[in-house]
C-alpha cells in the first residue's frame, strides 16, 4: 500500500517526508528497544512516542513511515532530524488500535 493511500485511510496529516512510497507490514509499540528489534524495513511503525529517540530507531530500522496516533505531533528537534534523514512522519487522530484495524480491513479487501 502507498503511504498516500494510508494518509487518506487514517485521515492523517503529513508532518514530513514524501508519501510517494510503499509500505509493507505494520509494527505498533512505543518501547524503543522492543521497536528496535521488531520494526522491519519498509514497515509502517505506529506509535504515540514522538521524540528524537524515535527518529534514531527509525534511522536504524528504516520503516517506510512513522504513523503517530492520537494526533500526536513530533517535537521540533525530532522533526528536523527526521527531515534530515528523509523519514516520512504522519499523524492521525485515530488510536493505535484503530489505525491497525483500519489497515487490516483495507488489506483484507
Amino acid at each position: 500500500m502507498k503511504v498516500d493511500a494510508l494518509c487518506k485511510l487514517l485521515d492523517a496529516r503529513v508532518l514530513c517526508g514524501t508519501t510517494d512510497r510503499e509500505f509493507e507490514g505494520v509494527y505498533t509499540g512505543d518501547l524503543l528497544s522492543r521497536a528496535m528489534s521488531r520494526v522491519q524495513t519498509d514497515n509502517a511503525w505506529v506509535t504515540i512516542m514522538a521524540n528524537i529517540n524515535v527518529v534514531a530507531v527509525a534511522n536504524l530500522t528504516e520503516p517506510a513511515v512513522i504513523v503517530l496516533a492520537e494526533d500526536v505531533v513530533m517535537q521540533q528537534d525530532a522533526l528536523d532530524a527526521a527531515v534530515e534523514n528523509d523519514l516520512c512522519v504522519i499523524t492521525s487522530p485515530l488510536s493505535a488500535y484503530e489505525i491497525c484495524c483500519a489497515i487490516r480491513e483495507m488489506a483484507g479487501e
Partner: protein, 141 residues
C-alpha cells in the same frame, strides 16, 4: 592474505539524550558504504544502538570503537559508569533500573541487553562496580 580493517571511534556524550544513537547511525552509514549486507548492518546497528543508549542512560557516556573486517565486525563500548552489580539479572528480559523520566522517553523495557545477545555472535561484559563497564560484541559475517 591480510585484509584491511576499518576502524571507527566515537565519544558518546552522556549528558545529551537527544544525540543518543548518533554513533550507531553513523556506523550504519559507513558500513553501508563499505558494502556490508543489510542483514549484517541490521544486527550491528541494533546491538550497537542498545549498547550506546545504555552508556548514555546508565553510565553517563563513554566511548565506542568499531572494527570492521571481511570476516567480522567487533564493537567495543567502554564507560566509567557505576558498573553492573548482577550481570545475570541485568541480562534478563524485562529487567531495568531506568527511572521514570528515562522511561517516559521510551527506554526501560529491559530489552537492550537481550537484544545485544540476540543479534550478535559473541558478547562479553567486563564490569566492576564503581569503576565501569566494557562490552565487547562480535558479529560474524
Amino acid at each position: 592474505m591480510m585484509s584491511d580493517v576499518v576502524k571507527f571511534h566515537f565519544d558518546v556524550d552522556g549528558s545529551d539524550f537527544s544525540s543518543a544513537g548518533a554513533a550507531s547511525v553513523s556506523v550504519k552509514k559507513k558500513l553501508r558504504q563499505l558494502g556490508y549486507s543489510p542483514e549484517v548492518i541490521r544486527r550491528v546497528s541494533i546491538a550497537m544502538y542498545e549498547g550506546e543508549i545504555n552508556m548514555v542512560i546508565h553510565a553517563n557516556g563513554g566511548t565506542a570503537d568499531v572494527e570492521a573486517s571481511d570476516d567480522k565486525i567487533v564493537i567495543v563500548l567502554a564507560d566509567k559508569g557505576p558498573g553492573i552489580p548482577d550481570v545475570e539479572l541485568a541480562m534478563q528480559a524485562g529487567y531495568s533500573t531506568a527511572k521514570d523520566h528515562i522511561r517516559n522517553l521510551g527506554f526501560g523495557a529491559g530489552m537492550g541487553l537481550p537484544n545485544m545477545i540476540k543479534y550478535t555472535d559473541d558478547l562479553r561484559i567486563d564490569t566492576v562496580v564503581g569503576e565501569g563497564t566494557t562490552i565487547t560484541m562480535t558479529v560474524l559475517l
